[in-house]
Amino acid sequence: MAEARLEAIARECRVQILRMLAHAGSGHPGGSLSVIDILTTLYFGRLRHDAKRPDWPERDRVVLSKGHAVPALYSVLARAGYFPEGQLITLRKLGSPLQGHPDRTALPGIEAATGSLGQGLSISLGLALGLKLSGSPARVYCILGDGETQEGQVWEAAMSAPKLGRPDHPLDNLVVILDYNKIQLDNFVTKILDLEPVITKWQSFGWPVMEIDGHDIGQIVKALDQAEATRGAPTFVVAHTVKGKGVSFMENDPEWHGKAPKPTEAIAGIREILGISEGAWEDYLKTDSATRAIVDELLALGKK
């Protein structure tokens, strides 16, 4: 069924995230793995978009405000056909359109230059308002990092959004999803600058707020349905996630916020993501030529 298909795509994307980060030698695995189920559900279960026409005016927009998680976005864009999957290993290399942070001037399919944290929500407000003024049915999905919401600009936008465009053009075409993985670069969010109470904060700014498990595709779909049915205001979704989700040695460890896996670590992570035991791994690879190729490529990288 649909959820199983999305889960399978998310697994493939997780594999690609580890692959491209190992080749890049730097980047952000933790936040990419925490957000990938949300991005997969959006791109393969929700968005009106066309990889062949990335500038189609009626397309839905995704703004990955937590731009450092862009490997996750590249993995879904490649899977959706915006560019060949082979290009993923050019991530962060000189001349590659796969910049270290999202670059709309370099890669069709990217909607906003993000990564300088705190700016994506304001851009999303402008997109949502502009689409409403044009009478477009397109929707805007903005993904915020939890640490990112420590930026003041986020709260300027948070205060503005429920009122902006009213009464004729309320921003009910906007959904904001918080990838609440509880970890930022330096440490756990609670140890740097706690966000709690998150839900009541956003509610008090005038947002309808939903709370979900950001790794449960059924819950993500349901939240997006509910957001789409909401009239008169944008919606805020608190998605509880696990940083590094799917790779045991990365999960819930601040060290893996911004450290690329070595090739051997990437291979170990890929094996875990696919749910294969160590003993069964070699036999498994004989049955999965795509993964075999990725693993061989990583082994060759490790020998360089």
Binding site: A112, A128, G130, E156, M159
Partner: protein
Amino acid sequence: MPAKASRAAFGEALLELGARDDRIVTLDADLSKSTMTVNFGKKFPGRAFNLGIAESNMVGVAAGLALTGRIPFACSFACFVVGRFETIRISVAYTNANVKLVGTHSGIAIGEDGYSQMGLEDIACIRSLPNIGIVQPADELETKQVIAHAVEHQGPLYLRLTRQNLEPVCPPDYRFQLGRWLVLRRGHDVTLIATGGPVFNCLEAAKLLESDGISAEVINAACIKPLDDETLVRSVGKTGRVVTVEDHSIAGGLGGAVAETLAEVLPMPVKRLGVQGFGESGDLKGLYAKHGLHPAGIAASVKKFLNR
């Protein structure tokens, strides 16, 4: 034409252009009565957005609107708009979003409100950013042409406007072009290059200098980025001396841009007149006299520079 503030001319131009082009929208941060977009909002209430005292968000919302084909004018005092530099850097300049940033109340000329409201570093900041041009019109006629040009121009611009009235300086048949300067007065001893309010003061200074036997060429440098290299080199090649005059910090403004260019293509003695320090409360005349930006002060600096 009577003297008029460039912010007032801007407000009038927007009303006219807005009636013809519904892509134009305004964004303000609780200063629409001062930036003069207030009448646009009355005439086109569905296209004027007051974001509250939250300039970073205003700049970002403008970028998003631009990406959907709107032409947003995001307006506040020069210091408050450009103070949101990081948002301008990424959301507007890097993105090459078709946003028109409007900074009114530039310079010490705002007078009594004092240092905290004076935009004195804005040109320096925006000059450092790729993609975005900087234009400062010198009178009503030029302001209206600049605003019309901004609507047609694809790409971000920073428009620097004044609170104070500006005397007319441009001839009636003048047509603004991005990257082109206007020689307002011919001369052969020294080139005075000014932008904004001080352009008129330079014309007055040139009269004073003339009575002392000094022939000054006066150029209105409305376009600070890109510079008009051709006019610059042609004029300075003739006079051999250049004095820049601006109501902006002495560092990084028009004078800095002119000095950088000349150092590379035509090394030449340059004297920069502008504001030293942060500014303070006072009346416009007194402040301009203190900083040597009034006609007598400019003339005195020119004579000293020429050793005459």
